[in-house]
Amino acid sequence: MRPILLQGHERSLTQIKFNREGDLLFSCSKDLTINVWFSHNGERLGTYEGHNGAVWTIDVDSQSRFMVSGSADNEMRLWSVQTGKCLFVWEFPTAVKHVAFNEDDDQIVCITEQRMGHQGAIRVFNINREGDGTNQSLEPVSLFHPVGSKPTVCAFPYMSGLILTGHESGKVALFDAKTGDEVLNNERAHMDNVTDLQLSADRSYFVTSSKDKTARIHDAKTLRVLKTFSTETPLNSAALAPDQPYVLLGGGQEAMSVTTTSARQGKFETRFWHKVFEEEVGRVKGHFGPVNTIAIHPQGIAYASGGEDGFVRVHHFDESYTKAKPYGDLEIIN
């Protein structure tokens, strides 16, 4: 499983995303830029320039037509994937920490930071897909301020009208997208900051990672914790493999890098866990700093990790991985 190294970012990676087909990989960074790469060979296809602050978050729609980004410059931008042009800019009083498309690509949810007299906010925007994409509404269809712990991550689950969130306190919650009411929560989903939240393909369950050194799988409807993966390091990202019963976890503490970093390969690992048995099945080393973000190819043939070290590593799985049945012939429904 020889990795492809994507070199192009000058500072740490904040989020990476495959498009639906998996041929493209999007990456954003504290270096103010967003890049798009061919996932099969690591060639850079283009750069989306315009943000004047760290780009914290990106998402791409299921048609690979629009990409949305959120930045420390208090802007959310809509981009044409193909031309690289910025189609629309929304401005907020504070930084945009997380963005996500819904399943039908006609709404975006975003989290803006709580800072300097401004409350943290969750906004939902309708996306006009008619025409060239430049005709968007500045006004959100809903705007609410979650009380209590700050939201850090958000997504649209399969249940319509609800927004799924992860919070600084470790809470996960469901909000009514119209009224902003918190309709359900699990205050003790984690004991510390929820750093990532990735949904299953059908949006009925999700995996979270946390600074509390665990990752967990939750039922999207009940928020019941189904599985827990306990590691010895703070986690920044967790992803669900689509075809194999695995979750991939990444994180790490910067201090660990001081000891024995070899020249070719860093010590920071992506961990593979069996999602049903809650057992660790393997690790892949590579980064020279903590792993900040992990994404898995939607066909399950590869995964990518973005590091604090400024590199993206794309690993294509060997046949031995895709055909492996380390636990025998048990059929597991993904």
Binding site: D104, Y158, M159, S160, D202, R203, S204, Y205, D219, K221, L226, V276, F277, K325, P326, Y327, G328, L330, E331, I332, I333, N334
Partner: protein, 60 residues
């Protein structure tokens, strides 16, 4: 290699894993039904793959 691995795993552990898989699969089948019901309620097009899966499940 697999054979060696298999023989060293105790019968107890195999039974435990089978139970975990059965629980997981039962929950997945139930949630897949719920996702489908939600899609129908929204009136959106249900893709054929899901429809086939459901038919198969009903036969079983």
């Amino acid at each position: 290699e697999d054979a060696v691995e298999e023989s060293t795993v105790s019968a107890e552990l195999i039974a435990y894993r089978k139970r975990l898989v059965d629980e997981w699969n039962a929950w997945r089948l139930q949630t897949q039904e719920e996702v489908l019901a939600e899609k129908r309620a929204r009136g959106s097009k249900v893709d054929t793959k899901h429809a086939e899966d459901e038919d198969r499940e009903e036969i079983e």
